[in-house]
Point group: C2
Chain length 124, copies 2
Amino acid sequence: MKIGELSRRTGVSVRALRYYEEQGLLAPRRTPSGYREFGGGDVALVERIQTLLSAGLNTELIAGVLHCFDDGGAGPTPIPTCAEMIEELEAARERMLRRIDDLTTSTALLGAIIETGPSPAVSA
Amino acid sequence: MKIGELSRRTGVSVRALRYYEEQGLLAPRRTPSGYREFGGGDVALVERIQTLLSAGLNTELIAGVLHCFDDGGAGPTPIPTCAEMIEELEAARERMLRRIDDLTTSTALLGAIIETGPSPAVSA
DNA sequence: CTAAACTCTGACGTTGGTGTGAGAGTCAAG
DNA sequence: CTTGACTCTCACACCAACGTCAGAGTTTAG
């Protein structure tokens, strides 16, 4: 299928799909005239990318670990080692947890500012 | 004092201080030669700005509510109405809380991916 | 007077996932 | 053949708070 159809099927914008290819997340074939030609499996692949992006991973990390999810396109191929993938995912999760901590601290500080009003709460 | 001294006193970079002025958070006088001349109160003001920034507010919002913290420079002037300020701060806090929720959901999703391994966890 | 230290105003770079055209080629239908 | 829908490749815009040069003027210590 061409990029417009993939976009409609996945709800992902054409621009985003081209960006995914640029980042090495997608590798469509090309027609003689240069049009991208996607396969049926790419629908699930794009959805998987969306899932990982919504989980807070960036495209670089996704590009690094995406092949670990690749079942070869058909069979239940026993997953490659990819212990490295787990490590990177856990590192990403820990960054997110730290980010949550920071935000929690910030909201608490903001809450204090709101409650106490315009006090010179400049301890930092 | 000049910008370098204010920077040393507050620990905020010269570039950041110029940026604050550009955003309307600071309004130093100028010497005939064009040098910024800050007053003693600006140290506390910069610290207050830092506090609000670390609380997750952006400069635009800070610019809008900063005058509500202004005590006139001396007396315990009863704070102006500025109910609007409280509203904006609470709105900002709620945005941050939503962001925390999103991140929490994402980390949970990422955790599930890590635990279950490369399963086709593409529900979204 | 000179050199070091400081300050000034631009103005581009950063980070990441797109939005939004510009200008041009391709393809299917009438 | 022509129109319209679709696609292509650049390439700038965006958001935020700065970092970091460049080139030039100012001030200060010796």
